[in-house]
Symmetry: C2
Subunit: 310 residues, 2 copies
């Protein structure tokens, strides 16, 4: 049994390879919900959607999110009604948000809704939101406090990040199944996602971090920082703001208390010794996942690494 | 100033012609909300939408409802999630329901929402729902009680109608502006809509019917029954079930206490004397509205008739 901690695009790409080599039933993915947002009265859970669409083979591969070949007719009309349209919502994609919102209003939890939707999409992976409670990642910038999506999508990460806040973190309990999965897995994989706002949110829930520390599972992270920059997204700006070096070493340092090993890219080979000095095993390979083949290769590499760990 | 009582397609076609010959600002349309329905957590107001889309020149002319050239990608996905898809919701159309639902949940009334949406579509006609309260037309059939849309759209009006119930009629107050418009208009036009479930719902609100009776406005109806059958919809089945003759005469009889005159189609000329015996003036013309020209001609005919009334 494997538990993966996941954000959006990077995690989804890695997991897409992983499910080619292990049975879907053996995988539990705990997904960041700090990016969740309500727009036009609809509850949107971007990372869960990216994971589901990617594993269901529906994702727009080029963008990494949304549904391949989707249209944007509804959003155009919403714009005509004066609604904000900076968050791209395709017509097919909207069905997920409409259905989720409908079920949440009926009283189902986000976990229950996620299970229903992922089953409807034919998935057998166990996808769990990190929490069923309200949790919001707020980016404090020189232009004020803003929702993570506002910072990233609306303002294209152009504001200087001063600090990151997790609204609701003190009240947030892990969703049902999160702790069980962590405690009963053979391995925990920290996907190549933004350490601060994708994985950091999950780890900010005290009981989750405690469970990982208590778990006998081997814990492996894949660095999302390659050659001193994130493959996608604003991880560099957020790591820097929080005082972390923007490098594979910085990622290893961030996960220091949790991981047994880290997978870094060949271009970062030179950081090996510094990372090993943190007491973390380092494994070096190609981590850029362009093709399905490269995703599968990385997944195999990670599984082999896990088997080698004591 | 003119007040029109309106259902969906028939009314919208007539009003489309009317706004070509009078300023939009001089027209108030009081619209049936008995057909309103919540689907997938979205509040849908079919008659209001048909009126708005038609007057905004966006309607799918062939069907009489929905938006011209719309796609159905979201609905297809909703079907994949196991949602019922018998009520056709186009992608562009959905924006209206999403925005309306959002505003209603924020606490706006249906009137306020309708005003916002119709203004955004560039309309200057005053479109008012008959009531802002919950009102539901229930069709009692040999197959059980069902929402009007379920009877009409899902089951294609195939069940035998035993009775019609108006849920919420005793509590329903006219929406703001309804009574004022009726009492201050020079003329009230009852559009060629289903007498029972489009106009009958509006008239079932006691204060509305009283206001029409008290009003000094001339009141003219246009028969939706031509040659013994409705132009569209199940008016025949509903009129028959409630003991009305399915004819222009039956329509006149239904509106007997309210109207000064009725416009009937040439094919129903033979009913003139019977209707006149009810004390109602009869005006005969072509009432089938295929082209914009025929809509304008009918509207002119109705305005001329109103001017001739004592």
């Amino acid at each position: 049994m494997i538990t993966a901690l996941a954000g959006g695009v990077g995690a989804a790409r890695f997991l897409r390879g992983l499910v080619e080599i292990i049975p879907q039933e053996d995988l539990t993915v705990i997904v960041n919900t700090g990016d969740d947002i309500e727009l036009h009265g609809l509850y949107i859970s971007p990372d869960i959607d990216i994971i589901m669409y990617t594993l269901a083979g529906m994702v727009d591969e080029g963008k990494g999110w949304g549904i391949r070949g989707d249209t944007f007719h509804c959003l155009e009309m919403l714009g005509r009604y004066g609604c904000e349209t900076w968050f791209n919502l395709g017509d097919k994609d909207l069905a997920c948000h409409i259905y989720r919102t409908y079920l949440l209003r009926k009283g189902l939890t986000l976990s229950e809704v996620t299970e229903k939707i992922s089953k409807a999409l034919g998935l057998r992976v166990n996808i769990i939101p990190m929490t069923n409670q309200r949790f919001r990642t707020i980016i404090v910038t020189d232009n004020g406090r803003m929702h993570f999506q506002e910072y990233l999508v609306k303002r294209r990460a152009r504001d200087r990040v001063i600090h990151v806040e997790f609204e609701g973190v003190d009240e947030a309990n892990p969703a049902p199944g999160v702790l069980d999965s962590i405690l009963n897995s053979d391995a925990i994989i920290i996907c190549p996602s933004n350490p601060i706002v994708s994985i950091g949110t999950i780890l900010s829930i005290r009981k989750v971090k405690d469970a990982i520390e208590r778990s006998e599972a081997r814990v492996v992270a894949i660095s999302p920082i390659v050659g001193g920059a994130p493959i996608k997204g604003p991880a560099d700006k957020l790591m820097r703001a929080l005082g972390y070096e923007v490098s594979a070493y910085g990622v290893a340092e961030y996960y220091r208390s949790l991981i047994d090993a880290i997978v870094i890219d060949r271009v970062d080979e030179s950081e090996r010794l510094r990372i090993e000095s943190l007491g973390i095993k380092v494994a070096v390979t190609d981590t850029i996942m362009k093709s399905l083949q490269s995703k599968i290769q990385l997944a195999k590499f990670v599984l082999d690494l896990i088997r080698e760990l004591p």
